[in-house]
């Protein structure tokens, strides 16, 4: 009963945050509402008894990635006049909703045909650091190494792109 109430609270908060991201004009307000979504999603992960991913969501997503985005938004010093004038925003929103809502309803119908199960908290170390680490290093070793190469390439790419000091003639 307590978990049901938590689920309802977190899901309402995350949908409100996502709506704020889509509707707010200034990107800083959008980033703040996205942080609300991230934190409430972390709560949902904890309800799904994914303990490690709960901590990673808070540290990596709500901490690192969002503070990077907010840092860049403040670094560019965006004023109200720098924002693109989105005159047809409501038209695009309504048109997009007309396309998206039937697909969403269809997907919800598909999801409802999945056999249902209670989402109670599982004990005995499900989703803990040790268990996830064992799966990661036994079954997913090659993808893990490929991810390390991907991060290296992204690091080099970011340095090459943003750190350019050459004067173009």
């Amino acid at each position: 009963m307590f978990a049901e109430g938590l689920f309802i609270g977190f899901s309402v908060l995350s949908v409100l945050g996502a709506l704020g991201l889509v509707l707010f004009r200034h990107p800083m307000n959008g980033a703040m509402s996205l942080i609300v979504t991230m934190i409430s999603l972390a709560g949902l992960y904890a309800l799904l008894s994914a303990k490690l991913i709960f901590a990673l969501q808070l540290i990596v997503y709500a901490g690192a990635i969002m503070s990077l985005i907010i840092f860049i938004i403040m670094f560019l010093n965006i004023q109200e006049s720098d924002l693109p004038e989105e005159k047809g925003r409501l038209t695009y929103l309504i048109g997009g909703s007309v396309v998206i809502i039937p697909i969403t309803l269809f997907l919800i119908k598909v999801v409802k045909s999945i056999p249902n199960a209670e989402a109670t908290i599982v004990g005995n170390g499900f989703g803990g650091v040790k268990e996830v680490g064992l799966v990661l290093y036994q079954d997913w070793l090659l993808p893990f190494e490929i991810v390390s190469i991907l991060l290296l390439v992204a690091l080099i790419g970011a340095v090459v792109l943003a750190g350019k000091r050459r004067v173009i003639k």
Partner: protein, 98 residues
């Protein structure tokens, strides 16, 4: 109930698509993509809880790594384009037209 988590994931993904197609601010488009990645993560974890297997958790960690790499590269590109054009409008950034 696992189904409720999956329905929430579908709703968040649709809101992300709506943000990408209806907004013209680069940052909002980028954060909508992050929102879609998060919705996918929620679906992974819900299915992982349904089958009580840990593979979904590993996939979520991979998605987080991809999102971090994407954030670093995309923000570098946004800084460069803002330096060159002085605008944040996605319509200005149509440089790849043949």
């Amino acid at each position: 109930m696992i189904q409720n988590y999956l329905i929430l994931s579908v709703i968040l993904f649709s809101l992300g698509i709506l943000g990408v197609i209806s907004r013209r601010n680069v940052f909002t488009v980028f954060m909508s993509i992050e929102l879609m990645l998060n919705a996918a993560n929620l679906a992974f974890l819900a299915f992982s809880r349904l089958h009580e297997s840990m593979d979904g958790h590993v996939l979520v960690m991979m998605v987080m790594a991809v999102a971090a790499a994407e954030a670093a590269l995309a923000l570098a590109v946004v800084i460069l384009l803002h330096k060159h054009k002085g605008k944040l409008d996605t319509n200005v950034f149509s440089l790849l037209k043949g």
